[in-house]
């Protein structure tokens, strides 16, 4: 394989090969939409379920950061010439299946932060060495906040498991949501992923990321005495 190209600016992107430009655009659109779905479907509704003002405002901050991620990916997309409509939900791109299950309890939100945000971290990690530097930089700016969101999940998990009832409710939430998460990483024979790796936009195969996620998810749930149910087949 030839040396990967490096694209340092949005301006330089205009002269990059069409396949490269389309691949970067797909990723930006996907992140913009998923960040917004996450904020709308999980983070904002969770404020009402949070048990104290401390937890409510912490959840407010998390929701704002997730909305902020959408705003930043959208801003990058606009600079790249992507129409805003393509970066909003309900405009063509099918949402991930996990977004089809509206939040019902605080425990569900904690489970989502613990595990879905771990999946999000892996996705962002894979962009930290992206050859399109504006996207790489955005991933680096986003990463500390994503890590904080996963830590939020761990902190409230530690709170909930202090009582048998809390632990049981959290385990039930893990059982409900976890099966949908491995498909978050895409199909094993994804053509998109092949192109992303060809251009060093992303680094790992979907299966490598999925395996890493399973390992980390097992570690974090075991740490708190929780278990993972069987996952569904990858998309």
């Amino acid at each position: 394989m030839s040396e990967p190209i490096i694209v340092k600016t949005v301006e330089e992107l205009k002269t990059a090969p069409a396949e490269y430009r389309e691949a970067v655009a797909k990723l930006v659109i996907s992140h913009a939409i998923n960040e917004l779905y996450g904020a709308q479907v999980f983070d904002e509704p969770a404020i009402a379920y949070a048990p104290t003002p401390y937890a409510k405002w912490l959840t407010c901050r998390v929701a704002m950061e997730e909305y902020g991620h959408h705003v930043r990916f959208k801003q990058l997309g606009v600079q790249m010439g992507i129409p805003e409509e393509r970066m909003m939900p309900g405009t063509g791109k099918r949402p991930l299946s996990i977004f089809e299950f509206p939040l019902k309890t605080w425990e569900e939100f904690v489970a989502i932060k613990l595990l879905a945000d771990l999946a999000e971290i892996l996705q962002v990690e894979d962009l930290l060495h992206c050859t399109f530097h504006p996207l790489r930089n955005l991933a680096r700016a986003t990463m500390p906040e994503e890590r904080f969101h996963a830590q939020f999940g761990e902190d409230f998990t530690a709170e909930l498991i202090k009582t048998p009832d809390g632990k049981a409710r959290l385990q039930a939430a893990v059982n409900e949501y976890f099966p949908y998460l491995p498909s978050f990483f895409g199909g094993s024979k994804s053509k998109n992923n092949e192109i992303f790796r060809k251009w060093h936009i992303k680094q790992r195969t979907n299966d490598e990321m999925r395996q890493d996620f399973m390992k980390r998810a097992t570690e974090v749930t075991t740490k708190y005495g929780l278990s993972l149910p069987e996952a569904r087949q990858a998309a």
């Binding site: 009402a48 104290t52 003002p53 401390y54 407010c60 901050r61 704002m64 902020g68 902190d155």
Partner: protein, 185 residues
């Protein structure tokens, strides 16, 4: 961006200017002034909770205890939420939903970056804050800016969110209601 132009952008810009010039978290733990008391009184009166007494948290650990108090008032939070929903409904009748949503999201994103830094400075200066409490403070402050924007867009000058924002702008943090006390930090 034509929808956004339909919004009164001067109102949004005015809120952004107030966010940028506010003394976020600069007076935490300091003795209450007459101005603080007047704004706190206006806030609880506008929420229909004017029988409350006023309390003061002196440091971050005391503030954290107040924020996690078992007897915190869901009535206070629910009144704010009812007010927010009412203002949002009014605003949605006046302006295109997408433009309104976009403007508010951009406002809270910009505000969040500012107030997070200010909360971090205040926590470092005073010491004793849990790391997550900086995020909590930023969430509360950015929410106050969002609520103020809604009040302005709905043209409700008597909204409790005006006096609540004034408390934040004066360097305070209204922590909420525990028992029969509104606790300021």
């Amino acid at each position: 961006m034509s929808d956004v132009a339909a919004l009164p952008r001067t109102l949004i810009e005015q809120v952004k200017a107030e966010v940028r010039t506010a003394a976020w978290f600069a007076a935490l733990g300091e003795p209450l002034t007459d101005g603080d008391r007047a704004d706190a009184g206006a806030y609880v009166k506008a929420l229909g909770l004017d029988t409350l007494t006023l309390g003061l948290a002196h440091d971050w650990p005391e503030a954290e205890r107040a924020l996690k108090a078992p007897d915190w008032s869901t009535v206070w939070w629910d009144r704010e939420e009812a007010e927010r929903r009412c203002l949002l409904a009014k605003a949605e009748t006046r302006y295109p939903e997408r433009a309104l949503w976009t403007a508010l999201t951009e406002l809270t994103t910009e505000t969040g970056d500012i107030v997070h830094g200010k909360a971090g400075v205040a926590a470092a200066r005073m010491g004793g804050a849990a790391k997550a409490s900086i995020h909590v403070a930023a969430g509360a402050a950015a929410q106050a800016a969002y609520q103020l924007a809604l009040a302005r867009l709905a043209r409700d000058a008597a909204s409790p969110f005006e006096s609540k924002f004034r408390l934040f702008a004066a360097g305070r943090w209204p922590l909420g209601v525990a028992g029969s006390t509104l606790v300021l930090f």
